[in-house]
């Protein structure tokens, strides 16, 4: 048979394209899509379990500075930190990280509201 492909070719000729005009029409991610990790830093207790369990060691937690850092290019969005977090302050967003040209760490720090004690002089 020679023209076995003709039906498919004709139907795709008269149907709308299967691809998107990317920057103009953007793909809507699914609810479940593993995009990127977000943290509610106010709820974090800096236990460091997420960084211990991370398969690629993308997360660094510094308890002393109350700092939580993630290397976005190292993170493989496996969702495991979200699962193990005891405070459930980590969430998986369904939007991907924006393209990057250099490795950088996204760092989150607890913003302390200075009170009228000796601490306020330090800050």
């Amino acid at each position: 048979m020679i023209f076995s492909m003709s039906k498919t070719v004709l139907s795709s000729l008269f149907s709308k394209p299967s691809t998107r005009l990317y920057p103009i029409t953007q793909r809507v991610p699914f609810k479940n899509t593993r995009g990127k990790i977000e943290i509610d830093i106010a709820a974090c207790t800096f236990c460091g379990l997420c960084s211990k369990k991370c398969p690629t060691s993308a997360i660094t937690v510094t308890r002393a500075d109350k700092k939580w850092e993630i290397n976005r290019l190292q993170c493989l969005a496996c969702d495991y930190c979200v699962l193990v977090c005891p405070k459930k302050c980590l969430t998986m967003e369904n939007a991907y990280t924006t393209p990057a040209v250099a490795t950088s760490k996204d760092s989150f720090k607890v913003a302390r509201v200075p009170d009228n004690t000796a601490d306020s002089k330090d800050s």
Partner: protein
């Protein structure tokens, strides 16, 4: 006797995005011998098992391969569960089966596309991948990842598929069957395609058996063996027969994979009907001690996970024998005596996945 020349094939070759190197000893246009060498992307994932907690290693096991990731994770989990005597809930077993079969459908559609690209049929390649994209969407909707599922864990699965979603997926697959048939029929009946595949690279039944070929490569040579028949996951409750062809040429290998797409869709349909209600995971306590061989059927063939645990949280040894590794001797045999122009097609027909092979 004409002069012998050695032509290098790969590790960078347009037809194969994965790094395998073949030294082709040719006499005129005939390949006399092919000497394979691998080792370009060795990552040492087997050694990593000594440093990762056995529960966490699932995420690494899934990333051994970018295409059959679901089944890699599943096989690892099965091996650990067997060592620890964990009874996995029925629902989890069914969900693993559904995801495993979805991954088979997408892997075979990917392969058909690559094959079409291999013999220079660009339009067919695009159509195969267009259909594959629909399957990838189903996978993403249910697990969150397009090719890395991340849904399996020791003791069950991490995500559930609710009834309306599953029904929608099955309805979509039912609708897709016709479309897939239209596209795959080109591989089966088209004259110019058949010119490239029929009678090319014949692997006899005896050779397939002696060289230890696995998966569709072996089934195309007439050996009736499918690891799913061992009855792991939910396969013991599902009705299916391994697809076997007898000619052993590139065409048969193609036909086996095409028929397996429809078989997988049928298995998903069956599993969706039988899917029991209940929990999707059990709590895992304690540490594994002992050793086990887990064997499952990947899109490319049989994969073996051997693991040895010594009662700590870190496994002592993990060995992964991937299907491509077992199929390389068969490939070397296929290449002996073929035309130089057929080498890319023949290398493709075993569906090589070198990332798997080197781990």
């Amino acid at each position: 006797m004409s002069k012998r020349t050695i032509i290098p094939f790969g590790p960078q070759h347009p037809v194969l995005p994965e790094p395998i190197h073949l030294d082709l000893v040719v006499e005129d246009e005939k390949v006399i011998e092919a000497i394979p060498s691998i080792g370009f992307i060795h990552r040492g994932l087997e050694k990593l098992v000594e440093k990762k907690d056995f529960i966490d290693y699932v995420y690494v096991a899934e990333r051994i391969c970018g295409i059959c990731s679901a089944i890699h994770g599943q096989t690892y989990c099965q091996a650990v569960e067997e060592v620890m005597n964990i009874a996995v809930p029925e629902r989890a077993l069914y969900l693993r089966t559904i995801w495993g079969e979805l991954s088979r459908v997408h892997s075979h559609l990917l392969w058909l596309g690559l094959m079409a690209d291999g013999f220079g049929f660009e339009a067919l390649f695009m159509h195969c991948w267009r259909l594959r994209e629909t399957v990838l969407d189903m996978i993403e909707e249910t697990t969150g990842g397009r090719v890395i599922f991340g849904s399996c864990k020791v003791g069950g699965v991490r995500k559930d598929i609710d009834k309306p979603t599953l029904e929608r997926i099955v309805a979509k697959l039912n609708g897709m069957e016709k479309e897939i048939k239209e596209v795959t029929d080109v591989f089966i009946v088209d004259r110019s395609v058949k010119h490239r595949t029929v009678g090319v690279g014949v692997l006899s039944k005896q050779d397939a058996y002696e060289l230890g070929a696995v998966g569709p490569t072996m089934r195309a040579s007439g050996i009736n063996q499918d690891m799913r028949k061992l009855g792991y996951a939910a396969y013991k409750q599902l009705k299916f027969e391994p697809i076997v062809e007898t000619a052993g040429d590139s065409y048969s290998r193609c036909v086996v994979r095409i028929k397996e797409i429809f078989q997988s869709i049928d298995l998903i349909r069956q599993a969706a009907v039988q899917l029991p209600e209940g929990p999707i995971d059990v709590k895992v306590t304690g540490t594994p001690s002992g050793e086990f061989f887990a064997r499952t059927e990947q899109p490319r063939g049989e994969v073996i996970y051997y693991l040895k645990a010594n009662g700590t949280r870190f496994l002592q040894r993990l060995r992964v024998r991937t299907p491509t590794f077992a199929n390389i001797p068969a490939l070397v045999k296929l290449l002996q005596g073929c035309e130089l122009a057929d080498v890319p097609i023949l290398a493709l027909t075993i569906d090589p996945c070198i990332s798997c092979t080197e781990r």
